[in-house]
Structure formats: structure tokens, C-alpha cells
């Protein structure tokens, strides 16, 4: 009985499927996207968020666009730029991908840049945030953010809001130095004073001595950039040392209060003011829908890395629609330049000059919303370009 009913069911499905499908799959052209992100190692949360977001987008929008079937090939580079380069080469040569996407950290994005130029394959940067990246190849487009965007904005905000003396604590690598330099430039130009400057090693086990130095410098606020994963540890030690009670506020680019970790950081983080491009609490309809879908699919809230991935895949879809399915590098890049759309983070566009992202930057304060910690936006700077390049 069971066997037969199953057989009938299966036969029915096959018949229905063949009746519904307008053309057989083999005749349809496939556009392959190589997604290289760290899925293991210290930056794994970045890769997982991007992967989740891309999968979510494809569930929502289907895997066919402009008559092409989209196929994403996921590769894990474990944050090692050598791996990223090797994987990108394999994807371009063997798998014949039309687009390389992902890039968890700056060195990975830079390692792939020469390949993108040679093979004329667009490289969509969904996470890495150093300004120079898009200058390294005419085929690089970014959908994440640059540290200059958030660091200059928080500096301008601090000067206007009575913060005169600032001590800085930044991780000693390219994005950390970008954050520090852009902040310093704007803060000092606005009349602020840097009373203490500390760079912490990237693989830093213990913040205690650095935090004690911050405390003794007695600044109005401390400017902090640590890579997304270290924010939790930093905030715990900040509270343990009583810097919150000493009246020293934390300000910085939003990496330190990443939505991914914010929930578990404890109440010491309340009142932290950051400038960033995305908050899961962004009050737009598009974002509410995005957050709800992401939570439903993965049981946690999306962070800014997820949004970078979501917008990146959206950019690919929209560009393919515009080119009518033409997937060569030059057509795609031409289509992507100047493209504007409504992202969960707010209105964004791709600067036709630099191929970098132009977006609103928000000033947010950590508050409790329905018993959970969120970055609540309270001020907005419209359509911020990456100032790291505009000076040149």
C-alpha cells in the first residue's frame, strides 16, 4: 500500500514538475558566483553571516535572474590571504565563475585584486573595510563600508557634543590604523585633544594594562576600534575595571558593538555611542522585514556583515537584470556603477567614480529595547562617501 502510494506520489510530482518547467535545466545558462569568506577561525562569524544572508536573499528572490540560473560556490579561506588567492584562482580557472565575492578581511581582498584585474572578473567586497581596496583593481566593487566613513563621522559628532579629550585604543592592523588616523584628523581639526594613544596587538589576550592606562589618562571618552570578535571581551574588561563608573564613555566605529555579540555584552555597554552603517534596530520597513526573515531562518539577529552580504548579492542580481543576463566583467561593472537601491541599512548607492559604497552613517547609542541590547540610531549623516579616497 505504502509503496504504491509513494510511487504514485512521486510519479505525480515528476509529471507536475515537467509540466511546470518551461524549459529543461540544461538549456538554461548558469552564472556562477565564487563566495570566499572565512567559515573557520577567529573571523568565522563574518563568513557565516555573509553566507546566511546570501542564502536568505536567494530563498526570497529565487535562483534565476534575467534568464540565468545563479549558482553560489562557497569556499572557506580561514582568513588566510594566501588561501583566498589560491581559491579565487581555482574558482576563476576551473569553475569559470563570473564573479568573486566575500572577502572577510582587507588582506584577503587585496590578495584577490590582481586576479580580478587579469581575469576581468568583478570582485564584490562584502566585509573588508580599508579605504585603499577599491583602488587596487577597476573590477572591485564594495557593498560593506569603509572605516573612514564611520571614524570621521564619530569624530565630528564628538567635537560637537562636548567631548574635548579623547584617549584612543585601536587594534594594530590596517583597519585599526585607518580608523585611528581618520578619527584623529577630524577630531583635532575640530578642536579636540588626543590625550593618550594605545595600539593593542591584534592577537591580544588581555586588555587590562591598556585599559588601566586609559583610566589614568582621565579622558572624556575613549575611541575604540577592535575587530568584531573582540568587542565582547573588551567591554567586559572595560566594566570590570570600572571605567564606566569613572565616567569614561566608549565611542568609535560600530565594530565594537557589533549586533552579533552585543546581546551578551552586559549592561556596562549601555550608553556607548558609535557611528556605523547598520543597526538591527534601524526603523525602516525594509529592515524590519529583513531582520524578521533572518531571525526566522537562523535564530539570531543579523549584524552589519550580514547586510554587506545581502546587499552584495542584491547588487549582482540587479546588475544582471540591467545587462539582460550578460555576465562578462566589463558589462557587470558598468551596470553596477551608480546603482542605487534601498538596503535594510537605508538608501545606498555605488559611487560611479570609485566603485565604493555611498551610504548614510548613523550615530547610535546602546539602549535596552524589549529587554535586549540594541544600537538605537538617533542622528544621521546623509550619503557619506569614503573620505579615504576623495582627498587624492
Amino acid at each position: 500500500m505504502f509503496v504504491r502510494s509513494h510511487f504514485l506520489l512521486a510519479a505525480g510530482i515528476v509529471a507536475a514538475a515537467s509540466a511546470l518547467a518551461p524549459q529543461p535545466l540544461a538549456a538554461q545558462e548558469v552564472v556562477k558566483i565564487g563566495l570566499i569568506v572565512p567559515m573557520t577561525g577567529g573571523q568565522a562569524s563574518t563568513g557565516k553571516q555573509i553566507d546566511n544572508a546570501v542564502k536568505l536573499y536567494m530563498q526570497q528572490h529565487g535562483d534565476t535572474v534575467a534568464g540565468k540560473k545563479i549558482e553560489v560556490i562557497l569556499k572557506d579561506d580561514a582568513t588566510l590571504p594566501d588561501n583566498t588567492k589560491r581559491l579565487a584562482q581555482e574558482l576563476i580557472v576551473n569553475d569559470k565563475v563570473s564573479i568573486i565575492a566575500g572577502m572577510g578581511v582587507t588582506p584577503s581582498a587585496l590578495a584577490v585584486a590582481p586576479l580580478a584585474t587579469q581575469a576581468k572578473v568583478p570582485e564584490i567586497v562584502m566585509a573588508a573595510g580599508t579605504s585603499i581596496i577599491t583602488e587596487r583593481s577597476p573590477y572591485i566593487v564594495r557593498t560593506s563600508f569603509t572605516l573612514a566613513q564611520s571614524s570621521t563621522i564619530i569624530a565630528d559628532w564628538a567635537v560637537k557634543n562636548g567631548i574635548k579629550k579623547v584617549a584612543t585604543l585601536t587594534s594594530d592592523y590596517a583597519p585599526g590604523n585607518d580608523a585611528l588616523n581618520f578619527f584623529k584628523e577630524h577630531f583635532i581639526a575640530g578642536g579636540g585633544e588626543i590625550v593618550e594613544e594605545v595600539k593593542t596587538p591584534l592577537a591580544n589576550p588581555d586588555f587590562a594594562p591598556f585599559l588601566q592606562r586609559m583610566k589614568d589618562a582621565k579622558p572624556d571618552a575613549m575611541f575604540v576600534f577592535v575587530p568584531a570578535g573582540q568587542g565582547g571581551n573588551f567591554m567586559k574588561q572595560y566594566a570590570e575595571r570600572g571605567l564606566d563608573k569613572a565616567g569614561i564613555k566608549v565611542i568609535g566605529p560600530g565594530d565594537v558593538t557589533d549586533d552579533d555579540l552585543l546581546k551578551d555584552m552586559g549592561d556596562a555597554v549601555l550608553g556607548t555611542v558609535t557611528a556605523h552603517i547598520y543597526s538591527a534596530a534601524h526603523p525602516s520597513a525594509a529592515n524590519k522585514e529583513f531582520v524578521a526573515a533572518y531571525k526566522k531562518a537562523y535564530g539570531q539577529r543579523p549584524g552589519f556583515m550580514a547586510v554587506g552580504g545581502y546587499d552584495g548579492i542584491n547588487l549582482v542580481y540587479e546588475a544582471l537584470k540591467k545587462t539582460g543576463g550578460k555576465a562578462d566583467g566589463d558589462s557587470l561593472i558598468a551596470a553596477m556603477k551608480g546603482m542605487k537601491w534601498e538596503s535594510p541599512r537605508g538608501p545606498i548607492s555605488i559611487d560611479p567614480e570609485t566603485r565604493d559604497i555611498v551610504q548614510d552613517v548613523y550615530i547610535r547609542k546602546v539602549e535596552k529595547v524589549d529587554g535586549e541590547l540594541y544600537n538605537v540610531e538617533f542622528a544621521k549623516f546623509d550619503a557619506v562617501k569614503d573620505s579615504g579616497k576623495t582627498k587624492k
Binding site: 573557520t40 596587538p201 587590562a208 594594562p209
Partner: protein, 300 residues
């Protein structure tokens, strides 16, 4: 006058705070590394996988506290017991076959074990950093005459201080301690006298692993706990043992304190040089005393 005095007082209190943090960090290093001092120094076995046992302890504690709602202080002994059981099992199954092999074999074997443990924990627990939920008693700082004393670090100093005293007592005063010392000094003569040398070693190994597990659980708050823990801190453990020498536990203890205080004060006073201070101390000491502070030159 008063301003100068105040300034002096302020710098005094911050010196004391830094010293306190350094001692806490050093104590933590000692509990993490003293098991390695025993296996490397006393049993002459190069066990680079020592950090894996520390990580095991940390994750046992994290799972018990965060997922099963155990109180932190009840989970700590379990971290010790769990790691020492894992240690004992691995000693019987794997390590014991390598006691007589060359150091290169031991290094290759134990580093392989490290990579397996990293991959296993990454697979089971995920790669993001784990925090252990602490009771509120342990959060924040106490103010002792203006000197900021972190409650958690104070607890570390108390626990580790007691442990050290206990270890020294066991090694110097008990029958087991004298058996261990005999087995280390001359295994053949010791077994001739009826001491069950393999058993003594197995027990010691397991105990060392247990201590590492306890250290791992305690360090989650300060050093951070993720699957790469054994690789990240392997260097620190080795520094403690090489600088301290391996003839007793006093050497590694003093070395841990020295490195802890050196590291913290270095990062405080010369933050640009921060990460190098610990290595500079090591190089200077090893040039001065190549066998470590308390090394035995004649024995090997």
C-alpha cells in the same frame, strides 16, 4: 605641594593596581603551565598539547554554567576533574607509548593532537569566543585605599595561591611526593625499590591536566576562550617552563609571576613595546641562565 602629593599618590595607586593585575596574570599562567612543567621537566616528555587540556576545562565549565545553569564555583572543580579524566584516558591510550621515543616524535604527536582538538572543538562548539556567565559577586572592582582591585582577579590570586602552597606541600612532605621525586630522579632505581613508576607518572600527568583544565576555566574571562586557545597560548606555557627551569615547581611559579608582572607593566608603561616585553625578559634570562632560573645543569 598638595598637588604634587596628590599626583604622587595617584601614580602610587596605579602602580599598585598594575602590580596586582600582573600578579593575577602571573598566577593564572602558573596554574595553566605548571602541569607542563611536570610533564616536560619531571617526566622529560614534550607535551605541546598541554593547552588542549586547558581548553577542555574551559569548555566543560562554560557548558555547565551557561547551558545547564550550574553555579560557577561548582563548575570549577568539575573542570578540574573532567580535564584530568581526559588526561588520564589519553595517557593510558596514547602518551604512554611515546615516553621512550625521541623528542621529535613526541613533538609531532602532541602537535597533531593540538590540531585535532582545535578542529573537534570548532566543530562541536563553534569558533566564536565563549564567555562564562559569572556570579555578580565576581564583577567589578573593590576599592582598597584607592587601589582598584578587580574582584575576579582577586579570586584568581586566592585560588592559585592556595593551589601553589598545596602543591609544594604535597611534593615536599607526602609519601606520594617523595615517590614522584624518586621516580623522576632515577626511574630504574625507583622501580627497583618497589615504586610503581608508570602509575606515579600516570597520576601526575592526569593531575597536571586537571590543573590546566582549572586554569582554562579561570582564564576564559581574562584571556578569552575559543578553539584556538591551545595554539595561541602554547608559546606562553613554553616560556614559563623554559624561563622557570624544570627542577621544581618554585621555578615556574616565580617565572610566571615575573612574566605576568613584566607583561602587564610593560604594556602599561611602554604600550608601543607591549607585546615584546615578555620575550625580552625571556631572552635576557636565558642568556644569563640558559637552563632557566632554577634549572638543573648536572642532571641532563
Amino acid at each position: 605641594m598638595t598637588i604634587v602629593a596628590q599626583g604622587l599618590l595617584a601614580s602610587m595607586t596605579s602602580i599598585l593596581t598594575i602590580l596586582f593585575d600582573g600578579v593575577a596574570y602571573g598566577m593564572l599562567l602558573f596554574v595553566l603551565a605548571c602541569g607542563l612543567a611536570v610533564t616536560l621537566g619531571l617526566m622529560n616528555f614534550v607535551n605541546l598539547a598541554h593547552g588542549a587540556f586547558a581548553m577542555a576545562g574551559g569548555y566543560i565549565c562554560a557548558v555547565l554554567v551557561n547551558q545547564h545553569g550550574w553555579p560557577f564555583f561548582a563548575a570549577l572543580p568539575l573542570a578540574f576533574v573532567g580535564s584530568s579524566l581526559i588526561g588520564a584516558a589519553l595517557e593510558r591510550l596514547l602518551y604512554r607509548h611515546l615516553y621512550t621515543r625521541s623528542h621529535l616524535d613526541q613533538v609531532l604527536f602532541s602537535i597533531g593532537l593540538v590540531f585535532m582538538s582545535v578542529a573537534a572543538v570548532d566543530y562541536i562548539m563553534g569558533s566564536s569566543r565563549v564567555f562564562i556567565q559569572l556570579p555578580s559577586v565576581l564583577e567589578g572592582q573593590l576599592d582598597v585605599f584607592g587601589v582598584g582591585v578587580g574582584r575576579y582577579r582577586l579570586m584568581i590570586i586566592v585560588i592559585c595561591g592556595l593551589l601553589t602552597a598545596l602543591l609544594q606541600l604535597v611534593l615536599a612532605r607526602t609519601r606520594f611526593g617523595s615517590r614522584l621525586r624518586a621516580a623522576v630522579d632515577d626511574p630504574r632505581a625507583a622501580s627497583g625499590l618497589g615504586i610503581n613508576v608508570p602509575q606515579v607518572f600516570a597520576f601526575t600527568f592526569a593531575f597536571g591536566c586537571g590543573l590546566a583544565g582549572l586554569g582554562g576555566a579561570l582564564s576564559a574571562e581574562i584571556l578569552g576562550l575559543d578553539p584556538y586557545f591551545p595554539l595561541k597560548f602554547m608559546i606562553y606555557f613554553l616560556i614559563v617552563v623554559t624561563v622557570g627551569g624544570s627542577s621544581s615547581i618554585t621555578g615556574p611559579f616565580l617565572a610566571s609571576l615575573l612574566l605576568g608582572i613584566g607583561d602587564v607593566t610593560g604594556k602599561y608603561y611602554v604600550p608601543k613595546m607591549g607585546p615584546f616585553v615578555i620575550y625580552t625578559i625571556m631572552i635576557v634570562i636565558l642568556i644569563w641562565r640558559p637552563n632557566g632560573l632554577f634549572g638543573r645543569t648536572a642532571a641532563r
